[in-house]
C-alpha cells in the first residue's frame, strides 16, 4: 500500500519529539570496537565501531580549544544521539579514556549543549597519538560559559568508554 508509508512517516515525525528515548535499531559492530557504553545498573554494554558512529547524523563544529593554537573543525555524531542509539537513560555519565583518564559529566550537558563526539579533525580521522580516535568537544566559542576549567576537563580525548549511571 503505497499511501501508508508516508502517513506513518508523518506520524513518526510528529511523534518523534515525544518519544524519549529513541532506540535506534543497532547493528552489531563488525569492525574494531572504538566506544563502549556501559550501563552500571543493568551491566548491559553497547559497543560501537567507527562505521556505526558514522551512520548516526553527523555534526561539524569549528571552535577554538585550549589544545590547538587555532580553531579547528571537529566532525562526529552528537553525544546525545550516541546515548540515544545505545538506549541510554540516566543522569550521570563517566567518561573513560584510553589512558585511564576518567571524568564525570551530567547527562544534561549532552541535552543542553550540542556536544559532539568528534571522530574527524579537519575531515581526517584522528589516530591515538593525535588524541583520537574519539574526542568529546563542546561548542566553546558559541557559549562563553563553556570556556572554563570544568568543561575543558569534561572534554575527554582518546575516549574509549562511557559509563551511564
Amino acid at each position: 500500500m503505497p499511501t501508508r508509508r508516508p502517513l506513518l512517516l508523518t506520524l513518526a515525525a510528529v511523534a518523534l519529539p515525544l518519544a524519549v528515548p529513541i532506540v535506534w535499531a543497532l547493528d552489531a559492530p563488525t569492525g574494531r570496537v572504538v566506544l563502549t557504553i556501559e550501563f552500571k545498573a543493568s551491566g548491559r554494554k553497547v559497543d560501537f565501531d567507527m562505521a556505526m558512529l558514522e551512520k548516526l547524523p553527523q555534526r561539524s563544529l569549528t571552535t577554538g580549544t585550549p589544545w590547538y593554537p587555532k580553531p579547528r573543525t571537529f566532525t562526529g555524531p552528537l553525544l546525545r544521539d550516541v546515548l540515544a542509539a545505545a538506549g541510554a537513560s540516566g543522569t550521570q555519565l563517566r567518561l573513560i579514556a584510553l589512558n585511564d583518564f576518567k571524568v564525570g559529566m551530567p547527562v544534561s550537558d549532552a541535552d543542553q549543549y550540542d556536544v559532539v563526539l568528534a571522530r574527524l579533525l579537519d575531515g581526517q580521522p584522528m589516530p591515538v597519538r593525535e588524541k583520537g580516535p574519539l574526542f568529546v568537544i563542546y561548542p566553546y566559542d558559541s557559549n562563553p560559559e563553556l570556556q572554563s576549567e570544568l568543561f575543558f576537563n569534561r572534554s575527554a580525548w582518546q575516549l574509549r568508554t562511557i559509563e551511564v549511571q
Partner: protein
C-alpha cells in the same frame, strides 16, 4: 550720622579662599587614583585568567603523564618481550600511541606561557623524539621493520635509559610551575597592596575634599553675614543721608518762605512809597529798588517751588481748562519779548486738539513760560515755535505734546546731561551771560512729572534746541469750564472796620497801608490774645488773622472769638498764612474761620476776598465772543441797555481820556513803566473790569494776562507789555470809532510819557 566712609571703615570682608584651583587639583588626583585602581584590577584579572589557563592545562600533570605512560609502555614492551610469539601487539601499539600523544603536551611552545624553557626540557624532549623516530620503524603508521624480540628489548632498553631523565623533567616542571605560582602569588599580593594603598589614598582625598567643602560653606556663611551687616549699615547710612537731605530741603523751604514774608513787606512799602510825592531822581531809585526786589522775589519763588517739589509738598489743583485760551495767553505774553529781540514767534495748534482738558492751568503755563522764555533767551535770531499736537493716548485721555523749538545757540551732549540738574545752566559762560537761578528747568520737569508727564530735549550746538513736554491730560466737555471770574471793581466794597492780627510789624504795616489805600479803617494786634480782647471790646467787620504767632496763635484766638457773644463772636475771620497747604486751609475752616488768604497777600486777592463777603455778587459774564474782535457790542448792550442812553459813549470817552490819573489804563501804564507789579496787577484787574463792562474785550484779555503774571515774568515782560497796552488802547479806540460808539476821531493816547520817566501827578 555715619559718613559714607564709615560704612566701609570696619573689618574688611573675608575673601573666599581660592579653592577653585584646589578643587581641580583634587579632581585630577582622584581621577588618577581611579585610573590606577583600574589598572591594578585589570592586571589582577589578567593574572587570574592566566591561572585558569594554567589549571586547564595542568602542565605538571602533563609531565607526570609522560613519565607514567613511559613506564606503562616499558611494561607493555617487557611483557611482550617475555613471549614475543604470543604478544598482544594491539596493546603494545596502543600504549605506544598514547605515549607519543603525550609528548606534544610538554613541548616548549606549550609550556612557554607558564614558565621559561630550560635546557633539560629541550634535551629530554630531543631524546624522546629520537626514540619515537626509531620506534616508529617498528610501531609507527608506516612501520617498516618487524616488532621482534630484539626490537622489543632494544626499545625497552632505550626507554629505561631515559626514565630517570624523564622523571627529572617532571620534577623540573613541578618546580618551575611552583616557582611561577609563587611569583604570581607575590604579584597578586603586590597588586593588592597597591590597590589597598590607592584605596586609602582615595579615602584620604575624599576626606580632604569634604573638609574643603565644609570650609568653603563656612566661609560663604561668614561672608553672607558680613554682607548682610554691610547692607544693614548701607541702609541706615542711606536713611541718615536722606533724612539729612530732607532736613536741608525743609530748611531751605522754610528759609525762602520766611524770607518771602518780609520781602512782601518791602515790596508793599515800596509800592506805597510810590504813592507819595517824589522827585524824578527818587522815582528812578525807587524803580530800581522795586526791580531788584521783584527779581529777588522771583528767585525765592523758584527756590520755594524747587524745595516743595523735592519735599513732595507741591500739589496740583487740576480743573477744566480751555486749551485754546491757555495757548492764547502764552502766545500773547511771549510775543512781546520775542518781538523785542526781533524773533518770530509761532504757535501751531494741531486740528485735533481737545477743547478742554483737566489741568492745573497755572502750573502748565509756568512750564510753557519757562521753556519759551529760555528759547527766547538763548535765541538771537530766527524763530521760536510752540507746536501743540496729540501724540497718542486715548480720546478720553490724549497725550499732548508741547514742543518748543528755537533756532538758538543749542547745546552739546554734556550740557544736555546737566540740564535738568539743580542750579546748573548751560555752562559758566552762558550763566554769566544770561543769568537766572538755574532752577527753572528742574521745576518745570518736576511739575511735568507730577502731572504724569515729562520733558525731553533734543539739541544740536549752533542749530537750536527742541524741548518737548509730554503729558496725558483728561479731556473734558467744554461745558465743564468754570465761568470767567466776574469783574469786581474794588470800589464796590464799602468802607470796613478791619482788625489785622500779625506778630510781624512789617506785615502789619503793609496790611495797614493796603487796607487804608482801599479806604478801610484798620486796627492792629500783635498776637491772638490782643486780638480776642480787641474783638471783645470793639466791633469789627472782619478780622485778618495770622495763624502762627507767639502767646496765642490764630487757631486758639479764633476759637476764643467764636465763644464771644454776638456780634463779636460772629465776626468774619480770614486766615492769613504763608503755608499754602491744603491741610492748613482745612484746619482753619474747622476752627471756625470763614476764609483763607495765602501770604504774600496780593492786593487783588484781598480785595476779592473782602468783596466776597461785603459786595453784592455780580451777574455771571456771558460767553467770550470771537477773540479776534477788538470790541464786543453784545456785552456792552448787556451792561448798558438798562441804563440811560448815551452813558456808554460818555464812559468810553472817560475811559480813553488820560487826564484822570486814576483811570485804570493810565495807572496800569505807569506801573508797567515803573516795574511795580503789585500795583500793575491791581490796575490791570480794574482795567479788565471796566473794559469788560464797556465791551472792550481785547483790552480786557490783555489786562487779565498782566494780572496773572508772576513776579519773574512780570519783570521780564513789563517793557513789552507797556508798548502792547498802548497800541491796543489805540487800536481799540479806532475800533470804537468805526463801530460808531464814540465820535472823537483822535483821542490823546494815554501814558504819553516814555516808560520810566513818569509818575502819576
Amino acid at each position: 550720622m555715619n559718613s559714607p566712609g564709615d560704612v566701609f571703615a570696619g573689618r574688611p570682608l573675608p575673601r573666599p579662599p581660592n579653592t577653585k584651583r584646589w578643587i581641580w587639583v583634587i579632581v585630577a588626583i582622584l581621577m588618577a587614583a581611579f585610573a590606577g585602581v583600574g589598572v591594578v584590577q585589570w592586571q589582577q584579572l589578567r593574572l587570574l585568567n592566566s591561572t585558569v589557563l594554567y589549571d586547564s592545562d595542568n602542565i605538571v600533570w602533563s609531565f607526570y603523564q609522560v613519565e607514567h605512560e613511559l613506564t606503562r609502555l616499558q611494561h607493555a614492551l617487557a611483557e611482550a618481550a617475555r613471549d614475543p610469539a604470543r604478544m598482544d601487539r594491539e596493546t603494545v601499539q596502543m600504549r605506544y600511541d598514547i605515549f607519543v600523544s603525550r609528548l606534544s603536551h610538554i613541548e616548549p611552545e606549550r609550556t612557554a606561557p607558564y614558565f621559561p624553557s630550560a635546557s633539560i626540557q629541550t634535551d629530554v624532549l630531543a631524546r624522546l623524539r629520537a626514540f619515537v623516530a626509531d620506534a616508529d620503524l617498528h610501531l609507527g603508521p608506516q612501520a617498516s621493520q618487524p616488532l621482534d624480540a630484539a626490537a622489543l628489548r632494544w626499545l625497552g632498553g632505550r626507554l629505561e635509559s631515559m626514565r630517570l631523565s624523564v622523571h627529572d623533567l617532571a620534577l623540573w616542571g613541578n618546580e618551575s610551575v611552583g616557582a611561577q605560582a609563587a611569583a604570581r602569588n607575590a604579584a597578586v599580593r603586590h597588586q593588592n597592596r597597591i590597590a589597598l594603598g590607592l584605596a586609602l589614598f582615595q579615602a584620604l582625598l575624599t576626606v580632604v575634599f569634604a573638609l574643603i567643602v565644609v570650609r568653603q560653606l563656612r566661609a560663604l556663611e561668614i561672608r553672607g553675614q558680613a554682607l548682610e551687616q554691610l547692607a544693614h549699615r548701607l541702609h541706615s547710612a542711606h536713611h541718615d543721608a536722606e533724612a539729612a537731605s530732607r532736613t536741608k530741603t525743609a530748611f531751605l523751604a522754610n528759609m525762602s518762605h520766611e524770607l518771602r514774608t518780609p520781602f512782601q513787606g518791602v515790596l508793599g512799602m515800596l509800592a506805597l512809597l510810590r504813592e507819595g510825592p517824589l522827585t524824578q531822581e527818587q522815582s528812578a531809585q525807587l524803580r530800581t529798588a522795586t526791580e531788584s526786589a521783584n527779581h529777588l522775589l522771583a528767585l525765592l519763588n523758584d527756590v520755594l517751588d524747587a524745595s516743595t517739589l523735592e519735599g513732595a509738598h507741591l500739589r496740583l489743583f487740576p480743573q477744566p481748562t480751555s486749551l485754546e485760551r491757555l495757548l492764547d495767553e502764552v502766545e500773547s505774553v511771549m510775543s512781546s519779548p520775542a518781538q523785542n529781540k526781533g524773533l518770530e514767534l509761532k504757535v501751531i495748534r494741531a486740528a485735533n486738539l481737545p477743547d478742554t482738558v483737566e489741568a492745573d492751568a497755572k502750573r502748565l503755563k509756568q512750564i510753557l513760560f519757562n521753556l519759551m522764555s529760555n528759547a527766547v533767551k538763548f535765541t538771537d535770531h530766527g524763530t521760536v515755535t510752540l507746536e501743540v499736537s496729540v501724540g497718542g493716548g486715548t480720546a478720553a485721555r490724549p497725550l499732548l505734546l508741547f514742543e518748543v523749538r528755537d533756532t538758538g545757540i543749542g547745546m552739546n551732549r554734556a550740557t544736555i546731561a546737566r540740564l535738568f540738574q539743580r542750579f546748573s545752566q548751560g555752562d559758566d559762560s552762558t550763566s554769566r551771560r544770561f543769568g537766572g537761578t538755574g532752577l527753572g528747568l528742574e521745576i518745570s520737569r518736576g511739575i511735568a512729572q507730577l502731572m504724569g508727564g515729562d520733558i525731553d530735549v533734543v539739541s544740536v550746538p549752533g542749530a537750536g534746541s527742541r524741548f518737548t513736554l509730554r503729558v496725558a491730560l483728561p479731556a473734558r466737555a467744554p461745558e465743564a469750564l468754570p465761568p470767567p471770574a466776574p469783574a469786581l471793581p474794588l470800589s464796590h466794597t464799602p468802607a470796613l472796620r478791619v482788625l489785622v492780627v500779625d506778630d510781624h510789624p512789617v506785615n502789619r504795616d503793609y496790611m495797614q497801608a493796603l487796607l487804608t489805600h482801599f479806604g478801610h479803617s484798620v486796627t492792629l494786634s500783635a498776637n491772638g490774645r490782643q486780638a480776642v480782647d480787641a474783638v471783645a471790646q470793639g466791633s469789627f467787620d472782619v478780622v485778618l488773622m495770622d495763624l502762627h504767632m507767639p502767646i496765642m496763635d490764630g487757631f486758639d484766638a479764633t476759637r476764643a472769638i467764636r465763644k464771644l457773644p454776638p456780634p463779636g463772636g460772629r465776626v468774619i475771620i480770614v486766615a492769613l498764612t504763608a503755608d499754602a497747604f491744603r491741610e492748613t486751609r482745612e484746619a482753619a475752616k474747622r476752627t471756625g474761620m470763614n476764609d483763607f488768604l495765602a501770604k504774600p497777600v496780593q492786593p487783588i486777592d484781598l480785595a476779592e476776598c473782602l468783596a466776597r463777603f461785603f459786595a453784592p455778587p455780580a451777574p455771571p459774564a456771558p460767553v467770550t465772543p470771537d477773540p479776534t474782535a477788538w470790541i464786543d457790542p453784545s456785552r456792552a448792550d448787556a451792561a448798558f441797555s438798562a441804563l440811560a442812553p448815551g452813558l456808554h459813549a460818555k464812559m468810553l470817552a472817560c475811559f480813553f481820556d488820560n487826564d484822570d490819573g486814576s483811570a485804570a489804563a493810565g495807572t496800569l501804564l505807569a506801573c508797567l513803566a515803573s516795574g511795580d507789579q503789585t500795583r500793575a496787577a491791581s490796575a490791570a484787574h480794574a482795567l479788565r473790569g471796566a473794559a469788560l463792562n464797556l465791551g472792550l474785550i481785547r483790552l480786557a484779555e490783555t489786562a487779565q494776562t498782566i494780572e496773572t503774571l508772576d513776579a519773574a515774568d512780570f519783570a521780564a515782560l513789563a517793557v513789552d507789555l507797556y508798548a502792547r497796552v498802548r497800541s491796543e488802547m489805540s487800536a481799540t479806540h479806532d475800533a470804537c470809532v468805526r463801530a460808531g460808539w464814540i465820535a472823537t476821531p483822535a483821542p490823546r493816547a494815554p501814558g504819553t510819557s516814555a516808560p520810566g520817566t513818569s509818575a502819576p501827578p
